[in-house]
Symmetry: D2
Subunit: 378 residues, 4 copies
């Protein structure tokens, strides 16, 4: 019998891209074996999908409740040990809650829930268990993002004084300017995807990244969102002033109408002693700026990197790794946690990150609705 | 006798960098001849400087008033035709005003004045003359900035929907954290340099650039400035939300504590149809982003560029030009105006740009002081 | 029972990097299941490794001959279908030959053999079977390399007139200048790694890439190799002039003493109508140059890419993929071939590429030894 | 009277680009005053041009001989001190020779002559005078090229072991494939432009650059040139193997059929300890590669640069300078030499560089004609 961790997946069937990302990531370090799940709501498609991806079909269930029932009935050494939730956002909360209540470890896509209230309930639920709970903010697994974090936590920038994160995309542009399309896109429907589109989908990545690399919590925000059309109920662009403390300020800039941009996510952090910059589309470069010194460009796999960063590189310098490898690193960390091995707190995002993300989204919308005023995060 | 335009310069002596920039720029297109001026307050240094730069000393005057007196006494075909003001900021206004009143054309460094009130008076003074008045926002002379403007005005981006400009420097970092240094730096002394450091010095460049390339006026702003220390009276960092109209928004980000940054000035404009991006430190590239199309990188000197852009390139593609060439282009435009030749409104910034810059600076400080609220520009 | 293709692996145990690369690649498209192999010469390490990577140990064999014996004794629907050879170079030939003779499909690391003679024998062996034989020139799996090939084959560059490939590394630098180290490095020992170090290891990648993207065969070469020290028997640097035909020329530049370089592998192809450039360390960009046009930068996942390129992208534009994904694409193609599905000839390199590589290596050394003269490839 | 150096110019009239380059460069450091010359063969155009560029016309002569006659008749303190030769290549030699014989300092465009024989005669002529003789290999004036030289000469790379220079252009592409155009282009006519097109025009820049930055002389070369068509007598592409000594090798790659390239001139030098790379189209960056260290990117104007480099920067870091500034630096060095001030040997290229360039061109053609064999430079 395989000694791998038994993994189940909810959602991610058919042509789901997030499904591919999680499956590949889970297989990268020989740690997980996908043993079943509920990939599609339709049972035939569900079985067909399992066959297509070459896994046994007897643990492919017709729905979530059946999965819980059947899996909990299995002996502990056969039962799924961890379950990845890749379903639409509004299902994250009920599924995660029930999984925790039934003793499963959970890997949950972001946004973790649809409201901050749900997030807080989930935290309480988790507190009563010994489960591992991970939220897959994928970008935090990149070796150079980890290196950025370790350098900042290690004091290489000195006291942080300025933070700037950008997440610019253009994909909603052809939709938003078409009255019919914008009315019928689920991402722009608050009933289906929560109270925010741009802040909820990508602003939250930028927010999490800032807190991840600085190791600090944002204290308050002032948001100016853009809805562009009267009949559009969801923000598709937003600039959010942030304060870590009275004199440590920054800005999060997110847009889905930055025409022609793909996934232009950047983060810049400046401290008293030095600055660091990173770009998601060129993830293998980390730029170190020091007053009066040549710019230094750090790359993965070199001995000068931190242990956390090196743990996320599979090949020597010069072999570019990408987003699958980044997610693979997060799964690697989760495997350590499930196995009870020691791991660094930066190896995967937790429920705390997930909950702070929900707080951020709600407060951003609140700040905007109140007329662009400062709102304090919890 | 030379047929060049007779140029005088106020300030710019000694090791002045702005002096070198203007002298080189003025000589680039064989259009100006530097005939004299007041380079230094001290007459010996003044004469010594003239000798060092190899110009005749008989029109090097002991002070500004003497220059006015002597030059106006010369026959019109010998008199200085245009005078560049490169003196400290607080002298711009009185000098410019008196020059206009005495019939000279004026080239004025930015910020044009120290208050918006002065700027308005200067506009009135100019209105009574036929003089040419240029404000040297140097960066608007770059061929690819001109190309950006022409493409946007020509509708290639469609309706503008999002604007973002960044001007990040780190030079004040070693000063601001040293109590003594920050108390003794003239740039941080409001008596010497006006009410703002960061917004006044570089934010205003970003503001002008945005208006230059879009051909539109910013309507209102909300500023969050940073002073970092209680005993520091001048902003050294600021993020400024901007609105062109209800749904056309953007942000200006300026900082002098972005440790390790040199002159990292970028501008991004996104329209319904496409986006354009430009970076001052790599000024010969203009990035055109279109949904679902390969990124296009435009470079100077190609026939695909606009007439205004091509007018600012002296050599064929592949020969990088820099900031001296950019300022040279502005002088070239000014020469056309002085000679009464036809020119494009984008060839040099005028008093309108200078006055808007002052309005912007004052309103940014006002917005911040009132608690980060929206303030409308004139 | 899983419907995946049953894969065995020879070599790649312990901390082998090539082992990680092949395992991850094989799992990427849900097509292969690793069922056993011989990972290490030592049987305990072999079993221990299998346990570490979580696969059943009953098909982990003590040596290659045992694997052949036991696997061929299994019913066809249980037997390994394809075997990846990741052992030291000198074992490639005997293993591949015997595998083919016993009816297995083969995936072989490069260089395929240690001599061109062996390569020719292998071709003959293969000709008598119906087996699939792939040689893992990893870099040909990148989406933008595939796009480069398809654009060139589709005539978008016009007739090719100039080719330039560079593969610069610096890793041998600290070894070559140390008399003891250079005497004891297996890569510099012809008995262990064939007649060439630099040309054999990386020059061959450049050669294969050139033939892959142009779809043309190099006709003749003139090589100038560098051994740097008298007591060093293996080239560690070489520049190789190439000719496709009388007037279609190019150059391959390979070095392992390009101090500080990591894996700086680039290819530039210029045709009558346009040029294309690609860099391995930034693999998600393909540069299209046309006379008098803006540079175009193509990126993976866009509809403007060819079918072959799009087949190699798992996520939408803006999600960087890397070398694991590139190798994954090669395995994907191999899976199609094994399953008898239709596939494009560019989906994986074959024995022809492997044999041409061996011819190239031998002729390069011959050209150099004869005093840098032209030598014709078969 | 101006204390500037009195400069005359031969050629460079009308729309000449090289004329603009030299005029702007000469004016950059307040050191030269253009007092006359022979800009055009036609005297009316000559005068008209002088008027257009705003210089007095009384020292604008009808031809070269008249210039010599009239200028030598002037008192020494009025006579032109230095004369720039910007005429077609075949005139460089006779003009330079006569100027030297008449006591003038000379600035000569490259290639310095049309044959190596002429170059040697010129060297002898110069040896009999005290004149300053500069050859304007423009690119050597860039601050980061100067920095590259100083770092290499200062031993920061250790012993040099590998050199690679590329100069790729595409401008001849539309000409070479058109039978009529290629027959009627002066650049492809050996009677008009010497024995080589590509090597003579751009290969020589690469050669000079390599010798400039390494401070070493190339010992021997093996060239493979391309003429592409039978009826074309001039090389339009060439790859040239080079050797500094038995084990220090390199390559010069030049092409004018690299379709879509503009002025893609790069130089890479690798030593035992480190490597340096520079690109002409992004001239303000110098890349320092060290084994196991982050890449370092040096930029102009920083205190970490050498004195020679800093002498070539007019503004603080972050203000890009370009090719005009590079040529300006060369003129600045020439001014020092003419004034008898101390200067660094890297401040401007001399007749030695010019003569070596001619030797290189002739030997490259010889090597190719003899069947791509090694030929030794003087």
């Amino acid at each position: 019998m395989s000694s791998k961790i038994r993994l189940g997946i909810l959602g991610g069937g058919g042509d789901s891209l997030i499904g591919v990302l999680h499956r590949v990531a889970s297989s990268m370090f020989d740690s997980f074996e996908l043993v079943g799940g509920v990939f599609n709501p339709n049972i035939e498609e569900n079985i067909g999908f399992a066959e297509r991806i070459g896994i046994p079909t007897h643990r492919v269930y017709k729905d979530f409740d059946t999965l819980i029932e059947k899996e909990t009935a299995l002996p502990e050494n056969q039962r799924m040990q961890v379950i990845s939730i890749l379903t639409p956002n509004f299902l994250h909360f009920p599924m995660a809650k029930k999984l925790l209540e039934n003793g499963f470890n959970v890997i949950c896509e972001k946004p973790m829930t649809t409201t901050y209230e749900e997030a807080k309930i989930l935290k309480e639920t988790l507190a009563k268990t010994k489960a591992v709970f991970a939220v897959t903010y994928t970008y935090t697994g990149y070796p150079m993002v980890r290196q950025m974090r370790e350098m900042i936590l290690g004091g290489e920038l000195g006291e942080i004084q300025k933070v700037d994160a950008q997440y610019y995309q253009g994909w909603i542009n052809p939709i938003i300017h078409d009255k019919e399309k914008r009315a019928n896109t689920w991402r722009l429907n608050p009933e289906k995807s929560g109270i925010s589109c741009c802040v909820g989908d990508i602003g939250t990545h930028a927010f999490d990244m800032i807190e991840f690399v600085t190791g600090q919590h944002v204290n308050s925000i002032l948001a100016d969102l853009n809805y562009l059309y009267e009949d559009n109920r969801m923000d598709i662009d937003g600039t959010i002033l942030i304060r870590f403390s009275k004199n440590v300020k920054g800005v999060i800039r997110a847009s889905q109408i930055a025409t022609g941009e793909e996934n232009n996510f950047t983060v810049q952090v400046y401290g008293k002693k030095a600055g660091l910059k990173w770009e998601q589309e060129n993830p293998n470069y980390l730029y170190l700026l020091e007053d009066g010194q040549p710019l230094r460009v750090l790359k993965p796999g070199h001995a000068y990197n931190s242990k956390l960063s090196l743990d996320g590189t599979k090949l020597p310098p010069g072999h570019p790794e990408g987003i699958f490898d980044s997610m693979g690193n997060i799964y690697k960390g989760i495997a350590k946690a499930i196995r009870g091995e020691a791991y660094n707190s930066g190896e995967f995002p937790t429920i705390i990150d997930g909950a702070r993300g929900m707080d951020f989204i709600e407060k951003a919308v609140e700040s905007h609705r109140k007329g662009n005023v400062w709102v304090t995060l919890d």
